[in-house]
């Protein structure tokens, strides 16, 4: 069995890098969706609030798998139609599984992050914002220098859980054909008839991944609360 694992170690390593890449891309996207969603939910604009509410209700109430399928197959149709408008001779255009998958899982986890960020922004004392404005900071400066540094401390614990969901959701993308570790295990299992060992390897890789993410978040939390240790 170890021989077989050794034989497939190259593809497993490559697949792990693909997962890492998907994770990093969707992490950035998740933060973007979350910040936009939270700002929209807290804005005075009714349309923005309505749109953000619809976003969280829809993406938190439908299965991740369904969103992934909808985005992957839907984007193929939309992009092909668009491309045909511009260049009539095109036959077929689609989003690669990598991008369709990254966008889909980031939209799902982004909906959860929206709620977390919203709560965290509400946790920042309004007086701080007013003080910043009184000191002559611009809105953007208030956001970057006052609201963001204080809200991430509050958001971190829940955000850590979201990151773990993000890691685990990357496994779904193998279903639409991304060549990551699940895909490698499928291939390996079909040739060496050791499915359990192969999928267990995948599980261990994911376990290592989530363990590292959890440890990093714990460190960040300690760092974010550093000033409180000093005050004691």
């Amino acid at each position: 069995m170890l021989e077989e694992l050794w034989r497939w170690s190259g593809p497993f390593l490559q697949g792990s890098l693909v997962i890492l890449l998907v994770f990093l891309v969707s992490l950035v996207l998740t933060v973007i969706w979350g910040l936009i969603g939270a700002s929209a939910k807290l804005s005075n604009n009714r349309v923005a609030r309505g749109a953000a509410n619809a976003y969280t209700v829809i993406f938190r109430g439908t299965p991740e798998f369904l969103v992934l399928l909808l985005l992957y197959f839907g984007s193929a149709i939309t992009l092909t139609a668009l491309a045909k408008l511009l260049w009539p001779e095109t036959r077929f255009v689609d989003l690669s599984p990598f991008w369709a998958g990254s966008i889909a899982i980031s939209l799902i986890v982004g909906a959860a992050a929206t709620e977390t960020f919203r709560g965290a922004f509400l946790g920042v004392d309004q007086g701080q914002v007013e003080a910043g404005r009184a000191l002559g900071l611009r809105r953007f400066q208030v956001f970057m220098l006052i609201r963001l540094p204080q809200m991430w401390r509050l958001a971190l614990p829940s955000f850590g859980n979201h990151l773990n969901s993000l890691v685990k959701d990357t496994a779904l993308i193998s279903v639409i054909g991304l060549q990551e570790i699940m895909f490698t295990a499928d291939m390996a299992a079909s040739t060496n008839s050791m499915p359990f060992a192969m999928y267990f390897t995948v599980a261990l890789i994911y376990l290592a991944f989530t363990t590292v993410v959890t440890a990093v978040i714990r460190r960040l939390e300690r760092r974010a609360n550093h000033f409180m240790l000093a005050a004691r």
Partner: protein
């Protein structure tokens, strides 16, 4: 590109046929998941069984459900021991493999929720029970359990919703739940928007129902706090 409303209306009854599979998976896994979670919580507080229980929770919370499902569905038949065991007629069926994966996954998450709830029971209450001379069973029945139930219910409600969403993976092991039927229809018509959005609507309604029912129970359990 156009949005085909008649096709949506036409395929809706077919999608609803998958509801039976989705709800069966949900119901079976809820029951077994809760039993596993209770057993795990009990094991965590014993001396010798606590580390296997911790390992179980750690493993099933740290790995994707799809991997767990494939380990069970494709992996277990690899072993001669499983194929000769009395459970083989069940484990041969994709339905029971899916239920097993969902229950084990759900059990680990719920065990963690119960742990949080148990931590929320004040130490003073335990001492008060001692002072009143309650037996261990009575303490569990009349003091600990009601408080833990109240503390855990909101998080448990979220877990039910996430279990419901997880049932969508059933189509990866050939089961025809709502998502499975949606995939079949999309393969026939290639209209992903109409069909997948119809399926999403069904899940949204189910999510809403679960949340409403859980909210109802939350209000009921917190009657004492209302005036």
């Amino acid at each position: 590109m156009s949005f085909d409303i008649p096709l949506m209306a036409l395929s809706f009854p077919r999608l609803l046929e998958g509801l039976r599979m989705t709800l069966s998976l949900l119901a079976v896994s809820l029951v077994f998941g809760l039993l596993i979670a209770l057993a795990t919580s009990f094991a965590r507080n014993t001396r010798w069984l606590s580390w296997p229980a911790e390992a179980y929770v750690y493993f099933f919370r740290g790995t994707p459900l799809l991997v767990q499902l494939f380990m069970i569905y494709f992996g277990l038949p690899q072993s001669e021991f499983i194929r000769t065991s009395p459970l083989w007629p069940l484990l041969r069926e994709p339905f029971w493999c899916m239920c097993l994966a969902l229950s084990l996954n759900n059990g680990a998450y719920v065990a963690e929720i119960i742990r949080g709830g148990l931590l929320g029971v004040g130490k003073g209450l335990k001492e008060a029970c001692w002072a009143l001379g309650l037996s261990r069973f009575h303490r569990l029945r009349f003091v600990t359990a009601p408080i833990v139930l109240r503390l855990c219910l909101p998080a448990y409600g979220n877990e039910i919703v996430s279990l419901l969403k997880s049932t969508a993976l059933a189509s990866t092991v050939t089961l025809l739940d709502v998502t499975g039927i949606a995939r079949t229809i999309v393969a026939e018509t290639f209209s992903p928007y109409e069909i997948f959005i119809s399926a999403a609507l069904i899940y949204l309604v189910l999510t809403f129902l679960v949340q409403t029912i859980v909210a109802h129970f939350e209000i009921r359990l917190n009657r004492h706090a209302q005036r």
